[in-house]
Amino acid sequence: MTDHDLDQRPTLPEASPTDSSAPPDADIRARLAAHPWPVFGAALTERLRADAAARAASESAAASPTSPSGSRHHRRATPTAWSRREVWGTAALALLLVALVGLAWQAGSMRNAQPGPAPFAPAATPESDGIGQLPEGAAVAWFDDDGLWYLERGGPARPLAPGGYLAPRISPDRQWVAFQDLGGTIYLVSTAGGEPRILLDSSRLPVTGATVVENGESASGSPKVPLRRPMRLTWTPDSRSLVFSSIVMPQVDPHGNEVDDLWAVDLADSEPRRLLPPGRAAYFAISPDGRHVAASGSNDGPNTNGPTLELVDLNNGTGHTLLKLAPILGNGPTSTVQPVMPHWMPDGQALLIALPKVDAEGARHAFGSEVELVRLPLDGAPATLGEVVVSGGALNGVRWSPDGMQTAYVVPADVWTSATLGNGSASAVPGYPPPSHPDPDMLVVGAQDGSRGQVVTTGQNMVVDEWSPGGKLLRVRDRSLTRPGWRIVRLIDQQVENLNAVASLPVVRFVGPRDLLYIWAAPNARINVHRFGVGGSEQAQTKSGTMVEFDIVAAGEVPDEVPPATAVPVVGMQDMNLHATPFPTRTIPGQPTIVPLATARTPEHQPTITLVPTISPENEIESFSFVPGTADVAFTVAGNYPANPRALFVRYMDPTSPQSVTRADSLAAVPSGFSYVASVRAGAVGGPLFVQADRGDFDYDLLPVDRAGKYGSPIAGGRYNPIDFAVSRAGDRLAILTEDGRLLVREVASGLERQVGDDYVGAYGGAAADFGFSSDGRFLAVISEVLASQDSPGGYQLDLIDAESGGRDILVRVTSAESSASLTGHAFAKDGKSIYYLARTSAADDDLMVVGAQPGAKPRRIGRVADLTGNTEPATRLDVLPDGQSILVLQDLAAIYRVDPVAGTSVRLTPPDDSITIWDFQVTTAHGRTWLAYRLTRSLGAQSGRVEESSDELLVLPLD
């Protein structure tokens, strides 16, 4: 076959609408207008209006002055200029709320002469729980209304004691469960059964160094009412003793402070031993070898001193002060000062602590948003590891992983971005904070010293609650008004692999080296657990206050709800994931021939290699991309039936084996928490692919996925809705178009984002932009819609954006009062110095244009697609072949042409076929040749029982 003259365009079945003065669809319009459509009427209208009014009322209620965005606005404006008084005030308010909740709980307990069912108050403190478990996940104990239940993994749940108590703690040797009542008594019960016994009546504990106020009058000696409450009951590793702090309630302290002291009680003699005086032990941690306790309190009674960190020898009670902080400035209860939370290194030889930085006067006060991470050896001088900035100045916001090698902390987004950029100015970061989340926090995971931090998720008012014992999971509490609850973040090999939310659960606890997740749920709670990496979610509903256990790492082996006093049903998890589903193809007559590549030749209508011959009409191929460095093609399938595969697939090309040119494989399932994978793009050779996945309702996120099909963490994280994106050729940079018309450039390695445009939104609320990187990734070419205004008609423009500086130049703008002006495709020249594009300025005139990639360059017309094709449909896609000279053009959604503007020739690469609509194509170079892949929809005509089915195909054509 010879070259075609592109004037020979395929004949359309219908006359052109411009051929007649009457609309070509006038007959259809008339029929449809005359049709007696159902009238929905006022009933539907009223329903919709009522909905809107209800939503407006709901939004008004939510937009109260106490919302996080309102109350924290000042901090965003000047993140580094917090006065201590502001910090103190905020902290005081927060802690006052916690204290009030605690007091209310305590007061409620006082009214009950007999211990009743433990009130479930998850908002109070994490300690006010009814669940306890062993670190290795071997056993769990919990209270409900019926009793204390004890469960060893794989065994039945057994009742050990009556209900109505709290804080069950299993001894490491699994011989005992300790628990307490609301009055302060500590009980002990054998896991083998038998009656519980009182280990310690905490009302017996002496209250020294404080004045006891009883019945409104001062008194001395032990109070008759339980003014103490044991807290943080903890077994020593040898199971021979319990250590606990004890709150001395404000009634006792003349300064109105709630202070803590530290005690130990041995099982052997039930005799309490005071380890530290009041005020020294709000938090404590027992060393892994059980020899020491490191403890820190807020004060030592009078409000003149700052917190200390004490080290106590558990065997003989001796100890000394490791460090002492200066008090914060200002007046007020010193209980608002947060103590240091020590973390033991696994060898027990050193502590890791977070301390406020030394201020200009050389003092290290008890509060500060700039925090030093310090390694404190038991027998040496402290060494500063690094510095971080934490949200709200909360020292306790820094949490080390169990092995001490990772940190997790929460940073205000603006501070983080500013610090990362190193310019110290939040205002220099366009786009932060995003309008949808005006004052976000970022959860950062870094190395032991806080360095190499990675943002793993964002939220509002977040607190790091706990690392899982294996260091693979993080539990984070989100205290935002709009989405309160707990989130679980999964980390693999110190890399963030995935993020999922476990929302609105009362208590979530990690257990075991395999990072089991136990969930203690309130009665009739509905639980949603999004599984990691496999898509879908699990749901369970408790029938009563009970526990649900999920193994969120290992597939299968997921016990269902644990009914009291029955065997634990270990059921196989229904496989919710869609990965590894064989890709069903349907053969149609005329199965394409696999062409031996050794003999394959172009030009002209060389038979193509069919990657996806024809998929069932219920599926759509939504997007595809060559895998860099290969001729393999990754593509996404959106199934129209739920049971059909909706995932990311890849077809591998093997040019050395002509008889098996392709083989199919699924690459990755729909990521967890998403409903389907919409599109895929690739950048670097060997680098990750990037996919756009839909959370539902067209709320997208972007995720990297490696060659093993493992997803990385979502990029947008709910901060914006990425409706389109592009990847630089090196794979190091993303351009992301958000639903609200912003264009962001994101550095893949650092996660830094720059906003390079905010007006890329079309007239219909959706994006009207087509954009891509230059080969070096430095520049972006963006075609966008120009909205009509009073001053000018609408049209399109081609922008050149410096991806690093954000500078933008309008290279071309075409407008037309007839709304026929358009720019429809673009491609950088091989050297990046010019940009090819297609322009239409009238109804029958498509021009192939080129313009220099610099401001003020004059566009040149180098071809007329109208001359070539007859121009029923504008050319819509353009690319430059590796030879730097030939240009591929998708014309009429029906054919791909190779055009040589210099020689003035063109070749039609795809065979004429009226039954196909070609939507997209892509070119790559691999295995020493050039490959063209294109995606089309083929009309299958009438099938039995159905009319006009169509199906998608994906084809590859070697071009040389």
């Binding site: 929905f40 209208t45 739920p642 959706g766 939507w919």
Partner: protein, 190 residues
């Protein structure tokens, strides 16, 4: 019969804009419901073939519209914007329900006279059955352009495709619709 030319929303421009307060926006949204609900419901009926489903989806469309109101930069294009939401809603529904298969035309033709009450015009059944033979994509563009009177650019924007692709679909949908009508015994212009 009804009017396909819905009034433009020029007078809603200010209240729908971001500068308007919530009460103003609610009032403007109210007006949008009054003016557009019928067309949206009609479109969704044509897409789903079920009145109750159409009503439910219409509710979903306006819920989505309320949530996304801030993204409506140009209030004058609110109608196209609403249809874009409706098109997405319909597509999602069809995906979810797996409703891309349709009753065969001949079944409808043979069964309709027996099933329909006498007051219902059989030609109406023909038209809807002819519509049902089109793919969802074809039906969508046909309804938007030929019934709801959106321009090809607006229809393309509503369906998330280019104006060129919308034009192509529209041409093919017209041809297929005519063929289906002919098959049902109707005369159509050539």
């Amino acid at each position: 019969m009804f009017m396909t030319d819905a009034p433009p929303l020029v007078d809603l421009a200010l209240p729908l804009s971001l500068s308007a307060n919530r009460a103003q926006r609610l009032a403007a949204f109210d007006q949008m419901v009054l003016e557009q609900a019928e067309g949206i419901a009609r479109y969704l009926y044509a897409m789903t073939g079920d009145r109750q489903t159409a009503e439910d989806l219409t509710q979903e469309v306006f819920l989505r519209a309320w949530e996304k109101l801030d993204f409506l930069r140009d209030p004058a294009s609110a109608r196209s914007w609403l249809f874009a939401i409706a098109a997405n809603t319909a597509r999602r529904h069809l995906r979810r329900a797996g409703l891309f298969g349709w009753l065969p035309l001949d079944v409808l033709r043979t069964e309709a006279p027996r099933l329909l009450p006498p007051e219902v015009d059989a030609s109406a059944v023909d038209l809807e059955s002819a519509l049902s033979t089109l793919s969802a994509d074809d039906r969508a563009v046909l309804m938007l352009v030929c019934l709801e009177d959106l321009s090809l650019a607006e229809a393309g924007a509503s369906l998330g495709i280019s104006a060129e692709a919308a034009k192509k679909r529209w041409q093919r949908a017209c041809a297929r619709f005519r063929a289906a009508l002919m098959q049902a015994g109707h005369e159509v212009p050539r």
